[in-house]
């Protein structure tokens, strides 16, 4: 028998060392995988093991200034199927298509799809969800979540906006304050084995949803309701296309009411109102004859907030701006005398006054009362293009108001270099350019409130669900656009308009009300369509509320002073006492 020799032993040691080296290298490789790449693989593994069902967060409510809930949540259910756990597919398909009122093929497609979890239907009534749950079908999950609900239906629909299937804001304040309202959705995480069977002993891990915060807005339920009633009433009386009413606080820009009738039902925003059917479409079955893009266009028209998304020619209400600029620049005083022959020649153009015979000799104050075009043409021309545009800028008319609603339209104004004397003359009495109603209301507010620019807005504060204050919104207010004196002069001049001028239909016994009427013809002029409007504020010496009413395409009499001023009078008659503003002479 041979003995081992030294080289045998040496080679055995060599092999051992080789193996040891290999094991050490593998150990290093392993350490690399388990430390450096651990996170990478662990995350991938987790995705593999976890089945995730999301739980919608309750969206924050929207409250009016009095605490009325304008947008709330309702419990609804989401029905899903888990392919690997279904035991009796036919029964599942039959039950779900019956309870959810879905076509059988739709349900079958969901049930037979090999996926970890498949959503069959969302926003199912709680009762239906409970019924399905009580059927105890293996592989069918009914999760509760929330759906937006608007207790007052169509109230302030274009302001509040509505939400989509995932509770995300689609239009209005729901979009603007999405971040505050939406909250954070939660998750139900379950661990499963490779067959998709949930592991019993690991249980469900829930990440609770964080509900959104409540938004308190400046809107006042009562004023809004009254504004909508008044708007519907005048729309019906005058068979107008639409009526907008905006009520705001001229001192701080808070909006109390904003309506553009017809309003739509926030709980059913995808049903087209007959008023919004495009002309020439059968009105009988609203919405049913429209498809695809045409339907979407019509819906978008219905959802538009005319006060901020659309511009119009303001007409005579804009004379407030021309007068303020003229007084501020010192080119005119209320006592200045003017003469109106019924027209005014600018270059070679004869621009007519609305009163064919002319107003004769009148002071500037009387010119405002009469809404006399030649007077304002004269003031505009005295200012000149440069100064007029400087004031236009100074008053903030070239910028957006910054209102907290999406889609605010910008002012459509002539380019300065294209403006000649004729254009300047038309601008002076509010024609040939367009602004939004909210821009007009905000600018007039700023003129009569003592001369400081306000930002019109709804958002007041954000509160936790228990009412605790989380955030108080501050607005960029206070920029002086007009001297205190001119502002006071303007208040007095505009009070005279209501006291005995073109705005006398807005007069209320015992209240000091200022205002200005307007009647403008829409483009093309040949269509003979008019926009009648009135902007008023009260009390005239210390304005606390400002109202703007715009009537689109009224039939019959279309003068703003005749049809729009009474609407604001009706509003003021009710809301001045409501806001605690006493009549003159009333003892506190």
């Amino acid at each position: 028998m041979q003995k081992t020799r030294p080289f045998h032993r040496r080679k055995i040691v060599v092999i051992f060392l080789g193996c040891a080296l290999a094991l050490v290298l593998l150990g290093i490789r392993l350490a690399h995988l388990m430390i450096a790449e651990s996170e990478h693989y662990a995350t991938l593994a987790e995705d593999l093991h976890e089945r995730e069902r999301s739980i919608k967060a309750a969206r924050g409510r929207i409250l009016d200034r009095g605490g009325n809930v304008l947008a709330d949540n309702r419990t609804v259910c989401t029905v899903s199927v888990i392919h690997s756990q279904i035991e009796d597919p036919e029964r599942v398909i039959e039950t779900l298509s019956r309870e959810l009122e879905l076509p059988e093929e739709t349900v079958r497609k969901r049930v037979e799809k090999v996926s970890s979890i498949e959503r069959v239907r969302q926003n199912v009534d709680k009762e239906t969800g409970d019924r399905i749950r009580n059927c105890n079908l293996a592989g069918v999950k009914v999760d509760e979540d929330y759906r937006r609900y608007y207790p007052f239906g169509s109230m302030a629909s274009k302001v509040l906006g509505f939400t989509g299937g995932d509770n995300q804001g689609i239009i209005g304040l729901e979009v603007e304050y999405e971040e505050e309202l939406s909250g954070t959705p939660g998750k139900i995480l379950t661990l499963t084995d490779a067959r998709g069977v949930e592991l019993a002993d690991t249980g469900e891990s829930r990440e609770e949803p964080v509900p959104g915060n409540d938004l308190v807005i400046s809107l006042d339920y009562n004023i809004q309701k009254y504004a909508e009633q008044a708007a519907y009433q005048v729309m019906e009386q005058k068979q107008a296309d639409s009526v907008s009413i905006l009520i705001m606080n001229p001192k701080n820009g808070e909006i109390y009411a904003m309506t553009n009738v017809p309003e739509f039902d926030l709980n059913d925003p995808y049903t087209l109102l007959p008023q919004y059917m495009p002309e020439g479409t059968a009105q009988s079955a609203a919405g049913s004859t429209l498809r695809g893009e045409a339907l979407q266009d019509a819906l978008n028209r219905m959802w538009r907030n005319g006060c901020i998304n659309d511009t119009y020619e303001p007409g005579s209400t804009f004379k407030i701006i021309t007068a303020s600029a003229g007084l501020e620049a010192g080119v005119v005083t209320p006592q200045d005398s003017f003469s109106c022959p019924g027209y005014r020649m600018v270059e070679d153009r004869r621009i007519r006054c609305h009163k064919v015979g002319g107003h004769g000799t009148e002071t500037f104050a009387q010119g405002i009362q009469n809404s006399c075009n030649p007077v304002f043409i004269e003031v505009g021309l005295r200012l000149g293009i440069d100064r007029y545009f400087a004031y236009f800028d100074q008053f903030g008319l070239n910028e957006k108001t910054g209102i907290d609603l999406p889609g605010e339209a910008a002012t459509i104004m002539h380019k300065k270099e294209n403006v000649g004397q004729v254009e300047l003359a038309t601008i002076s009495f509010g024609q040939s350019f367009q602004i939004t109603p909210v821009q007009l209301a905000a600018t007039v507010s700023s003129i009569v409130n003592g001369g400081t620019r306000v930002t019109p807005h709804f958002g007041v504060s954000v509160r936790a669900n228990d009412g605790a204050l989380l955030k108080l919104y501050q607005y960029d207010d206070g920029r002086r656009i007009l001297s205190e004196e001119t502002s006071e002069q303007m208040r007095g001049l505009l009070e005279q308009v209501v006291d005995g001028g073109s705005g006398k239909n807005a007069y209320i016994e015992g209240y000091r009300i200022g205002g200005k009427t307007a009647t403008s013809e829409t483009l093309p002029r040949s269509a003979n369509k008019y926009i009648s409007s009135f902007i008023g504020f009260a009390p005239a010496d210390d304005p606390q509320v400002l109202g703007l009413c715009i009537i689109n395409n009224p039939q019959g009499v279309y003068y703003g002073g005749t049809i729009a001023a009474p609407v604001i009078r009706g509003m003021f008659e009710n809301i001045l006492p409501y806001l605690g503003i006493r009549k003159e002479g009333d003892q506190p």
């Binding site: 092999i15 040891a20 661990l191």
Partner: protein, 359 residues
């Protein structure tokens, strides 16, 4: 012949016993899910393995008490038996997962390939220790010719085991020959053949592509799931029994990929400790081999060292995707009755050798 007869190596025995107990605990943890799902019995695999373990421990005790020199005469018949069994399995074997690897005798089934490993170790140890040293040049060729039949038979349906057998043979010839250079040529030639072998068929190259980017291929599933398990472990693991990957994600978690789930449950520390334990085991084989009184005993211990080392290294390398995937079990831990029976018999052999030593 000056030999000293003594007690078997206590260190080796302790390490082997510890490994078997550890292996059984881990195996139960890894196989409980598959056992429950397939056979309705969490302990299904555990019980079968326990039976093989009991047989194996008895065999280990028996062999360790023998004088290993007796086996020198039996080495050739034992090898012939392995050829017969490996041939029989090709004709009468049971297929499982598509491979004919099992011979059934009544309720028992047996994997001849596992038996072939110790048979080759004995054959080569017996042959080399008898051959005249001066003819060592021709010996390399002779040994290769001797193992070729078994490599061919086993390789027809179990390529990995054939590679292991070939590896053991190369290591044992390496020890028996004082030169180094020829072995470098053998290794280089082997690599060259492997390269040609792989590039001949597109599907073999695909295996390499899967190795580079296992995520991109369906066949890389097992590798990817193993990596997920390893990555999920981190430093200290999820804790024994808490693996998620064994729940059907890693296919056959109790078999080849068991090391990945050990990483998941016991973390980097547990995995490194297990590797250290194997290193200790290999170290003891080296000590026994270098202290053996004669070349036969030394080669037996060295062959066993080679066997364990090759399987551990290749298994860990496959699981960590260091080399392309091939089915190699982890000794003492992976499920497999025949494997544990013959591994423990080999341990008995090593213990038997350890009882004798040079003075």
């Amino acid at each position: 012949m000056r030999t000293k007869q003594g007690k078997p190596d206590g260190f080796l025995l302790a390490a082997v016993l510890f490994l078997t107990v550890f292996g059984m605990v881990v195996l139960y943890s890894m196989s409980a899910y598959n056992g429950r799902v397939r056979f309705g019995d969490s302990a299904y695999y555990f019980k079968k393995q326990l039976f093989a373990l009991a047989l194996g421990l008895a065999a280990m005790y028996g062999v360790s008490c023998m004088d290993y020199h007796v086996l020198q005469k039996l080495s050739v018949p034992a090898y012939l038996l392995s050829l017969v069994l490996s041939g029989a399995v090709l004709l009468f074997g049971d297929a499982y997962n598509g491979s004919r690897r099992w011979l059934s005798i009544g309720p028992l089934s047996f994997q001849p390939a596992e038996y072939a490993k110790p048979a080759v170790i004995l054959l080569l140890a017996g042959f080399v220790s008898r051959v005249d040293r001066k003819k060592s040049g021709r010996m390399i060729a002779a040994v290769m010719l001797m193992v070729l039949p078994i490599v061919g038979l086993v390789g027809t349906n179990n390529l990995s085991t054939a590679v292991i057998i070939l590896g053991i043979a190369v290591l044992m010839i390496f020890i028996s020959n004082p030169r180094y250079l020829p072995f470098l040529w053998i290794v280089l030639a082997g690599s060259g053949f492997l390269g040609i072998f792989l590039s001949l068929e597109a599907y073999r190259l695909e295996r390499l592509a899967i190795w580079r980017n296992p995520e991109l291929y369906e066949k890389g599933f097992q590798t990817v799931q193993g990596l997920y398990a390893i990555g999920s472990g981190g430093l200290f693991g999820r804790g024994l029994g808490n693996s998620l990957q064994k729940l059907g994600f890693v296919p056959e978690a109790q078999n080849d990929m068991i090391f990945s789930v050990i990483c998941e449950e016991l973390g980097l520390f547990g995995a490194l400790l297990l590797m250290l334990l194997f290193l200790l085991l290999i170290w003891r084989f080296m000590v026994i081999a270098t202290h053996a009184p004669d070349l036969f005993g030394s080669l037996i211990a060295a062959g066993i060292m080679g066997h364990i080392a090759i399987q551990v290294i290749l298994n860990v390398a496959v699981v960590t995707n260091t080399i392309p995937n091939t089915g190699i079990t982890l000794p003492f831990v992976s499920y497999g009755g025949t494997s544990v029976l013959f591994l423990l018999s080999e341990m008995g052999l090593a213990l038997s050798v350890s009882r004798y030593s040079r003075t």
